[in-house]
């Protein structure tokens, strides 16, 4: 038991320690300063710039950034739809997997373009290697796009008045070539050395001791697993994701993969501190995020290690904790740890079945996605947090008797309008989509019987989880939900699409508008945003705005299940 806690503590602390120098490195990348690996990496992005005719020194304003982001995403969307629906005749398909139906391809494409990686298919049978490679590409570009927007916002937050905010393609390409690619290579190598396959050959066959013929799916898995962890993507190569022994072979790879989930999101905060030369602000934000994360982590680990009371009542020994849906090689603590880390960041890869988490741990996972900014997805996590900062600055700015300002820029009606809409969007999408499904199911349980394996509060939790995961661009799900139907594919697709791009556009717009405003120097009367008090304010705003609006829904789902078990 103690070794389990030790294991996760080491993973947690080591990751945070690694994130500090990495943040500095990322900060230098976005500030166009020299880094030591530039010698190897600079030629690569120069090649991309040359190939695509990008002039990285051409600066854009926030609207041009937005246009760039949206156009390239549209191109990727069409490209991916084409590949996924035509895999049956395209090359690199040794196992002869079929093309996807239109609704599944729609869902999958949006899911990967939006960095969600909700998978309503299973990797072994649902996609060809070409399909996997395309999806892998998206894991890079969706993460890179999120980071690029974040870099734009960093530059917009600087203490000056400008509308020149760097070049989007420059940030985007460099996010991929200078940050995601080298880290992925390191992680992929670690995985390959520990047994994760990396091959273009088809299924491998062997005859077991019993004499059965067993076909084992394999493929270019190590490369995909590395980026799915690092880019807060979560779209696994195999259906069982990182619970699969070939995707996550042992406790060490589990630690490495788990660390990779939140390494870059944490580092982005320090990168902001570096770009803005505001280390105290970075530490304050980091502190708030870490406290928030621990608030979900601690109960989750506690309840998983304590075991399921319903199973205890059956007289079954639960010394190892609640082991339903968990891998023996990881244990309950490491699975609980992963389940929280993967949901607070918008990763969504899993090393166990979230459906089988005890009710409160399931709720912690959902809360992690409902808040979606305790570290959050690469780049986008910070963008979400930025919205909460704006709201907190507004209220606390008033409390010190000044019209609110953040980093020397006045926050007025226009910015407030955008911030409020974005803050509103998340509960709106999650609650209304869940409401629609609940309504359909409640009024005609027979027709929709295929949706839910558990009709009670757990079934409700499964639906709530599915949409929360879509809205948070997370991608994990409760397995008991029958979700590969046109209804779920399309509704989840819409939720993913809206909740990916609007929360990127919002902060970008606010930051762009603020950047153009007159810079007001600090005085003794100015609210300081790099203090513990302001940190508490942000935490309170997040809990009251983001978490509490889900309270009634959570009451009917996990809380009802939890109290019902006693």
């Amino acid at each position: 038991m103690n070794t389990e806690i030790l294991g996760i503590s080491i993973t947690f602390i080591l990751t945070l320690l690694l994130a500090i120098p990495l943040g500095r490195y990322i900060g230098k990348v976005y500030s166009e300063e020299k880094n030591w690996p530039d010698r190897f990496l600079a030629p690569l992005d120069r090649l991309f710039f040359k190939l695509s005719g990008i002039r990285p020194e051409k600066e854009m304003n926030w609207k041009q950034h937005l246009t760039a982001l949206l156009t390239i995403n549209l191109v990727w969307f069409l490209f991916s739809m084409f590949i996924l629906m035509n895999m049956q005749w395209l090359p690199l398909n040794p196992d002869g997997n079929p093309g996807m139906s239109a609704d599944l391809a729609f869902n999958t494409t949006i899911s990967f373009v939006s960095n969600t990686n909700l998978q309503h298919y299973s990797g072994e049978t649902g996609v060809s290697y070409l399909g996997q490679l395309v999806l892998m590409l998206f894991q890079f570009i969706s993460a890179g796009a999120g980071m690029a927007v974040c870099a734009v916002v960093f530059h917009a937050m600087k203490e000056r008045t400008t509308d020149k905010l760097g070049n989007f393609y420059n940030y985007f390409v460099k996010s991929c070539t200078r940050i995601l690619l080298p880290l992925s290579i390191v992680l992929a190598l670690l995985l390959v050395f520990n047994g994760t396959p990396m091959t273009f050959q088809g299924k491998s066959q062997f005859i077991s001791l019993q004499g059965d013929t067993v076909n084992v799916s394999r493929g270019p898995a190590a490369a995909m697993v590395a980026i799915k962890q690092l880019g807060t993507n979560g779209g696994g190569f195999f259906g069982a994701n990182s619970a699969h022994p070939l995707e996550n072979p042992n406790y060490f790879t589990n630690m490495a993969e788990c660390a990779s989930i939140f390494l870059i999101p944490v580092a982005m905060v320090f990168a902001m501190g570096y770009v803005l030369k505001k280390r105290r602000l970075a530490w304050t934000i980091f502190g708030v995020m870490t406290i928030g994360c621990l608030l979900f982590l601690l109960p989750s680990v506690y309840y998983e290690m304590k075991g399921n009371p319903a199973i205890t009542q059956m007289g079954i020994n639960q010394q190892m904790g609640s082991m339903e849906g968990k891998e023996v090689r990881f244990g309950s603590a490491a699975t609980a740890f992963w389940s929280v880390v993967t949901t607070v960041t918008s990763n969504g890869s899993v090393n166990g079945v979230h459906d089988s988490l005890t009710p409160l741990s399931g709720m912690m996972a959902m809360l992690g996605m409902m808040v979606n900014s305790f570290y959050g997805g690469v780049g986008v996590g910070f963008l979400n947090f930025y919205i909460f900062i704006i709201i907190a600055v507004f209220i606390s700015g008033l409390m010190v008797g000044r019209t609110p300002e953040f980093l020397g820029k006045k926050i007025e009606a226009k910015e407030m309008k955008i911030a409020v809409i974005i803050a509103l969007l998340h509960p709106l999408l999650i609650l209304s989509a869940t409401a629609l499904s609940s309504h359909l199911y409640a009024h005609d349980p027979a027709t929709y019987a295929g949706w839910l394996n558990n009709p009670g509060s757990h079934g409700f939790s499964a639906m709530l989880y599915e949409y929360t995961s879509s809205a948070a661009n997370n991608g994990s799900n409760f397995a008991s939900l029958g979700n590969n139907t046109p209804y779920w594919n399309i509704t989840c697709g819409i939720v993913m699409l809206l909740s990916r791009f609007l929360p990127i556009i919002g902060p970008l717009a606010i930051a762009g508008i603020l950047a153009k405003k007159k810079y007001i120097p600090q005085s003794a009367g100015t609210l300081k945003t790099d203090t513990g008090t302001f940190g508490i304010m942000v935490l309170a705003v997040i809990f009251i705005v983001a978490a509490l609006s889900f309270f009634p829904a959570l009451t009917l789902g996990p809380l009802a299940e939890f109290f019902g078990m006693k």
Partner: protein, 687 residues
């Protein structure tokens, strides 16, 4: 100082008027301006429908009494919110009216121009008949009928009706003190005045209109806050609407009353109900400080001021320079020197000259030597720019002169007398201490030096300290030379100074500060101040100032008190803080309300959720009623706070945030837990 009028918070007449208004404001078209309360009104109407539905035989929505109770409480909630706004309006109006009363119908001596040759004929007309541009005459004892500008003459005027200050002031044509205010009284002399405003369009009239709501515009900050509150309201619309299918899924029937109660409790009704009252109260507080604001925005901006431009004279120092020391030269006795100084100053009508006599008397100079005059054979020599000295010739051709160092030096050395070194030293040391030395000669021999000093107002350093802690930079504007200016600036504790200031210097300084992103406030009275007043973010014109200055600024100070700027900054800060703290309080309240209502919604079908009922409320009905009752009565309980404003403490922004977060944030979480529980205990007896 000014007499601040005080009205009790809940004066009977005001309350009666406010009560009437709170019903009139129920009109949806009026309430629409306030999205939070408007949704409550919709909820209230729905509840009325539910009550009728039950009357017509429906049994699914619970007892009629319970539903009527919910309806009634919601109705009262809206009334409370309206009442808060109406009370603030009534107070503001009462305040403005008490000022306006001073200018009720008074007979005016209208100067009528007859015929083409300008024959002036004086006609007595009621003041309301006077139009802009008309001329009228005021003589000793007359009440000035309208605001105007003196075009001819000079008069002493008693302005106590407006300012509360009983000492009469002098107003004269031309110059910066040419404005007169309706309702004040001419004490002496005769003036001809041109009316400057149309009837009903004076600053006061405009302010009353602002308070009354007809022309009240939401300030930018109020708009932003309204957006935030509307956002919160929308979130809870979503929460409550989606709860219906969720409850269907869980086979839990929820009554309409419960839905609406949950909704009304969650939306920020407290701040929503008090928001406009807070804004009006801000203007009202300004008015109480005898400042007329031309817009609500100006008050708000005042809270953001980074730089304050203050005139030295009257703000930092008391009036003019005063004599503080007699320094006789060697072998001249103190007594002789003082006598000579007094004699040289007897006819000197400048404040400096008078102060020399005052100081001598204070130091015990006996009365006989104060007597003088032409009849005793004295001949007074006035100050001229040429001689740069003044004094007296006594019988027996004794010349006493006082003047600047170089002019006396000139007289003395021309007569071939030595100028003592120790006097030269003294002169230098006085000058380097920010003082002004006046050398006195007797029979062209140096007798000593009088030291004149600026007297810094007592307590002004503390005020500047307070401003510094607020983050406001103070800048002293003075005509003095840079050396003196620096000395006084240091002594008074201002952060910067503009020496040898010309009107355009002020303007340039303001522009420079604004370019670096700062907000600047200044006070002025002269026509040459007008551009700077218009340029400043907050320009306060003195009521005694010229019409141009008053038009250019966005506030008018009736007291003509330059330190008023400091008060105005605090009023602005208070206004914003009150909004912020009540918003925090209102939102923090939601935690407890969730815990009161959510378990109550589901307990009947999911009894295990009793565990969430951490307040152990009696029953679902009492839980919901307690929450809505709490939600309603917190509004009137907070009216005093909204109207008086949260006290501002200059302790630095972070400390202030910590303090307010602790009181209104943590308090906002805890208070409703206690309040709801108490109400539940009370009403449990009836259920």
């Amino acid at each position: 100082m000014s007499k601040h009028r005080t009205t009790r918070l809940f004066e009977r007449e005001l309350v009666a008027e406010a009560l009437k208004q709170s019903f009139i404001k129920l009109n949806p078209r009026i309430l629409f301006r306030n999205p939070v309360m408007f949704t409550v009104e919709i909820g209230c109407i729905i509840m009325l429908g539910v009550c009728l539905w039950i009357l017509s035989g429906n049994r699914s929505q619970g007892s009629l009494t319970y539903n009527i109770l919910v309806f009634a409480i919601l109705f009262i909630t809206i009334l409370f919110a309206n009442f808060a706004e109406a009370l603030a309006e009534a107070r503001g109006k009462a305040q403005a009216n008490s000022l306006r009363k001073t200018r009720e119908e008074t007979p005016a001596k209208w100067i009528q121009t007859v015929g083409e040759i300008f024959v002036n004929e004086i006609k007595i007309v009621p003041s309301s008949r006077l139009k802009k541009g008309d001329l009228f005459l005021c003589e000793a004892g007359d009440i000035i009928p309208m605001d105007g500008e003196i075009v001819q003459g000079l008069a002493t005027i008693d302005e106590s009706a407006i300012t509360g200050e009983s000492a009469p002031v002098i107003r004269e044509a031309g110059g910066d003190k040419s404005s007169v205010t309706g309702g004040t009284k001419v004490l002496s002399d005769k003036i001809k005045v041109r009316v400057t405003t149309e009837p009903g369009e004076s600053f006061l009239d405009k302010m009353i209109a602002l308070v009354e709501g007809a022309s009240r515009q939401k300030t930018p900050n109020e708009i932003a806050l309204t957006i935030l509150l509307a956002g919160f309201t929308l979130v809870f619309v979503i929460v409550c609407v989606t709860l219906k299918p969720f409850a269907d899924f869980a086979h839990t029937p929820i009554t309409i009353a419960a839905f609406i109660s949950l909704f009304v409790c969650l939306i920020p009704t407290t701040i929503g109900g008090l928001l406009s009252a807070i804004g009006i109260a801000g203007m009202d507080r300004a008015l109480r400080a005898n400042v007329i604001t031309k817009s609500g925005k100006a008050v708000e901006t005042a809270g953001d001021i980074d730089t304050l431009l203050l005139d030295k004279t009257g703000t930092i120092t008391i009036g003019n320079r005063k004599a503080t020391h007699f320094w006789p030269a060697a072998n001249i006795s103190q007594q002789d020197f003082m006598e000579a100084c007094v004699l040289a100053s007897l006819a000197d009508q400048t404040p400096e000259g008078k102060s020399i006599i005052e100081l001598a008397v204070a130091q015990g100079l006996s009365a006989p030597s104060l007597k003088g005059g032409e009849e005793n054979g004295m001949r007074f020599i006035d100050f001229t720019a040429e001689t740069r000295s003044s004094g007296v010739d006594l019988p027996g051709n004794i010349q006493i002169r006082k003047g600047a160092y170089d002019s006396i030096h000139h007289i003395v050395s021309k007569a071939g007398n030595p100028f003592p070194d120790e006097t030269t030293e003294k002169v230098k040391s006085i000058a380097s201490n920010g003082g002004t030395p006046l050398v006195v000669s007797h029979q062209k021999k140096v007798w000593g030096v009088i030291e004149l000093q600026d007297i810094i107002k007592p307590g002004i350093q503390e005020r500047f300290d307070r401003l510094r802690k607020m983050g406001v930079k103070t800048v002293m504007v003075t005509g003095d030379n840079p050396l003196t200016a620096r000395y006084i600036a240091q002594k008074a504790g201002v952060d910067d100074f503009i020496a040898e200031a010309k009107p355009e210097d002020k303007m340039n300084y303001i522009k420079k500060e604004q370019n670096s992103g700062k907000l600047v406030a200044m006070m002025g009275d002269g026509t040459n101040d007008a551009p700077a007043l218009a340029q400043a973010d907050v320009g306060v014109a003195m009521n005694s100032g010229t019409q141009a200055a008053k038009e250019a600024g966005n506030m008018v100070d009736l007291d003509n008190d330059p330190t008023k700027l400091i008060e105005i900054v605090e009023i602005g800060k208070q206004l914003l803080m009150t909004r912020g703290t009540l918003t925090t309080f209102s939102i923090a309240n939601d935690v407890a309300k969730y815990f009161a209502i959510v378990p109550a919604l589901f307990i009947t079908s999911l009894p295990s959720l009793q565990a969430l009922n951490i307040m152990r409320l009696h029953s679902p009905e009492t839980a919901i009623l307690s929450a809505v009752i709490f939600n309603a009565i917190i509004i009137p309980l907070l009216i005093p706070l909204a109207l008086k404003g949260v006290a501002y403490r200059p302790i630095g922004a972070s400390a202030l945030l910590r303090r307010n977060l602790l009181i209104y944030g943590l308090g906002g979480i805890l208070v409703p837990f206690i309040g709801i529980k108490l109400i539940d205990i009370l009403i449990a007896n009836f259920f």
